[in-house]
């Protein structure tokens, strides 16, 4: 039985894990970098150890140091959170070598999940549909043509040396494919000395729908419904929800079973997520397994009533999952907005610095997972996720309305946030109707809508601003005082400079 867990992470997810440990009476060990002295996870853990400099490579990615702290503090397990070392099979193996339980899948399974081609191969054997395309590298343009004709145009010609959109060509017919193949091969030979190209079907308008998985060491496996994560920017999820507006119970049962099969196919244990693309025709294609707890796991918690971190710990302890698939039913609707420190109008560039004031919304159906507190700092060394605002409602509309109200109550002073963007998105007709896709922001010109919303807000509040200014001018010039306890200090950047 796990009695003490080192959390090899920071920010909201470290706090999330601590919260469950507290509820279970499990001790926690926090680790922190130079940047995180004053961070909440240091304060909330049973113990906290300094592990190095601000740069992740010198602290949160320092495998040896983290294992050293785990051993020194007597932790018998490590929870990796998400990001950092969470999907690093070497680290999972290092933990195993030091007889520390790694709360996640085995290193072997994790490695298989991380290797796209091997994973695709395993899925083919398990009869899980993946995005149609070449089963392996294509050796020449004839093979590419052959495959393209089999799966149908348009197709993507992808270099395995690419990544993040680079080295990908959209091709619409045989002639273009032939030409593109020559150019891509030439480029690749010049740059890498070898060519490695894949053909994959181009999917024009897609939804990102994923299934929460759990599988224990005894082979029991369930899915805990889907999450729709189609609202994205630059392939980063912004808003997630469960259930998906396009998944009915029949689809849930069918694709959920497929998702369970993916876990079995790679001998996956603990919690994971099977990600799928869904086309408008209702077809689903498996993309990958995320071998860890997801950022968006709270939406699943709110509609299932489960504590997923507890489930992770139970499975790591070798226990059986304490329920069957048939015991699970979706209760209401949950939506999550990732409150990022970023400037929407600067191409979502990170916005960092000290946060002098914070108001965190609260109330029925509102959950906030965050590391923010007044006086904290949003560091430039780590990711821009400051908080996750999650609302639950009996149905989508109740959840959405609660989210809109909660977004209005959420205030972070000192950094730019994605809050205004979410208010605009949630109010669009398309979002309300569940008309989602990964290109939602571009397809519906959401940034233009945001600009106009901001102007509308300004106009709505102009009289109030003017009253505040008039009050200020009067106070400042004549210093009217009505009651002695009222005092006012005017902040001014000039004064402080």
């Amino acid at each position: 039985m796990i009695k003490k867990i080192l959390i090899a992470n920071r920010g909201e997810i470290a706090l999330r894990v601590i919260r469950t440990c507290q509820a279970l009476g499990i001790k926690t060990v926090a680790v922190y970098s130079d940047e995180d002295y004053g961070s909440m996870h240091v304060k909330k853990a049973t113990e906290a150890y300094h592990i190095g400099e601000a740069a992740p490579a010198k602290s949160y990615l320092n495998q040896e140091k983290i294992v050293e702290v785990a051993l020194a503090s007597g932790a018998d397990a490590i929870h990796p959170g998400y990001g950092f070392l969470s999907e690093n099979s070497d680290f999972a193996n290092l933990c195993a070598k030091n007889k520390i339980k790694f709360i996640g899948p085995s290193g072997k399974s994790m490695q298989l999940c991380g290797d796209k081609m091997k994973c695709k191969d395993a899925m083919a054997k398990a009869k899980v549909p993946t995005v149609p395309g070449s089963p392996d590298l294509v050796k020449d343009s004839d093979e590419a043509l052959d495959i393209a004709n089999k799966i149908g145009y348009p197709v993507l010609l992808k270099s395995v040396f690419g990544g993040g959109g680079r080295g990908i060509r959209l091709v619409k017919n045989d002639k273009d494919l032939k030409e593109a193949f020559e150019i891509a091969t030439g480029e690749s030979m010049a740059a890498f000395g070898k060519s490695a190209l894949l053909v994959e079907k181009f999917l024009p308008k897609i939804r990102h729908i994923e299934f929460q998985l759990a599988r224990d060491k005894h082979g029991n496996a369930v899915h805990i419904f889907e999450r729709e994560c189609s609202i994205q920017r630059r392939h980063q999820k912004l808003i997630e929800m469960s259930p998906s507006p396009v998944v009915d119970q029949k689809t849930r049962d069918k694709i959920g079973q497929l998702a369970v099969n993916t876990a079995i196919a790679v001998d996956y244990t603990n919690l994971g997520t099977a990600e799928f693309l869904r086309l408008d025709d209702g077809s689903f294609y498996f993309i990958e397994i995320n071998a860890r707890l997801q950022v968006e796991h709270p939406v699943t918690e709110l509609v299932s009533g489960l504590d997923l971190v507890k489930l992770q710990i139970d499975i790591a302890n070798g226990e059986e999952i304490p329920f069957k698939q048939k015991d699970l039913a979706v209760n209401g609707c949950a939506i999550e907005c990732r409150i990022n420190a970023e400037d929407t109008f600067l191409d979502f560039a990170p916005s960092t610095g000290p946060v002098s004031d914070v108001t965190i919304p609260a109330g029925p159906g509102i959950r906030v997972d965050t590391y923010l507190y007044p006086g904290c700092t949003v560091s430039s060394f780590y990711d821009s996720l400051m908080a996750k605002l999650i609302t639950w409602g009996q149905n989508f509309e109740e959840s959405r309305t609660r989210m809109l109200n909660a977004l209005s109550d959420f205030y972070v002073q000192g950094v730019e946030t994605s809050i205004p963007l979410y208010k605009t998105i949630l109010q669009t007709k398309e979002f309300r109707e569940g008309n989602l896709s990964t290109d939602f922001l571009e397809r519906f010109n959401v940034l233009d809508k945001l600009k106009s919303d901001i102007k509308k807000d300004t106009i709505e509040k102009q009289d109030v601003a003017l009253a505040a200014a008039a009050l200020y001018s009067t106070y400042y010039s004549s210093r009217i005082k009505t009651t002695p306890e009222i005092s006012m200090h005017w902040k001014s950047k000039l004064d402080r400079a």
């Binding site: 002073q413 300004t458 709505e460 009289d463 003017l466 505040a468 008039a470 200020y472």
Partner: protein, 170 residues
């Protein structure tokens, strides 16, 4: 006092017209009288009821030119000196000055952002001679008469004090 709000074209008017006591005021906003009751004031800002409706204002920045505030979660920048251009012009080029006067003087201190007339050029009364940045605003200094620019006495990027000669115009 008059204000301009960033992103909105109009010019707005707001002033306290009466102090009713008990933290209550009458405020005239764009010629309409409103009732205002202060609930709390702190270093961070102010909370009041305007015509029975609660508002929370956080002051972010206050300079001689602008007030930047967050009104019920909406960030708004009020420009306090939208008429500075006019005021400056009034005191330099527009009126009252003798046409025989050669020196065009700056009525405000500032940094020279641009010089818009060249020595030897013909200018008309009201033409922009240079632009100064003052109190975080850009203010044009305009010619006080028709004439020829004899000499530019300032440099781009340099500073001018109040009453410094900008140019000699004959």
């Amino acid at each position: 006092m008059e204000y301009k709000i960033a992103d909105i074209e109009d010019i707005f008017n707001a002033e306290i017209t009466q102090v009713l006591g008990n933290s209550e005021y009458l405020v005239k906003i764009n010629d309409k009288e409103r009732h205002l009751r202060i609930l709390a004031m702190s270093t961070r800002g102010i909370e009041f009821l305007l015509d029975q409706k609660y508002h929370n204002i956080r002051y972010l920045e206050n300079t001689t030119a602008n007030i930047k505030m967050v009104v019920d979660g909406v960030q708004i920048t009020l420009n306090k000196h939208h008429k500075l251009n006019q005021i400056v012009y009034k005191n330099t080029g527009e009126t009252g000055r003798d046409d025989t006067q050669v020196n065009l003087r700056s009525q405000i201190p500032g940094k020279v952002v641009s010089i818009d007339a060249q020595e030897g050029a013909k200018v008309k009364k009201g033409d922009v001679i240079c632009v100064l940045e003052s109190m975080k605003m850009q203010v044009s200094v305009k010619s006080h008469k028709d004439g020829v620019v004899r000499k530019i006495k300032i440099k781009k990027g340099g500073s001018v004090a109040k009453n410094d000669v900008i140019a000699e115009i004959e």
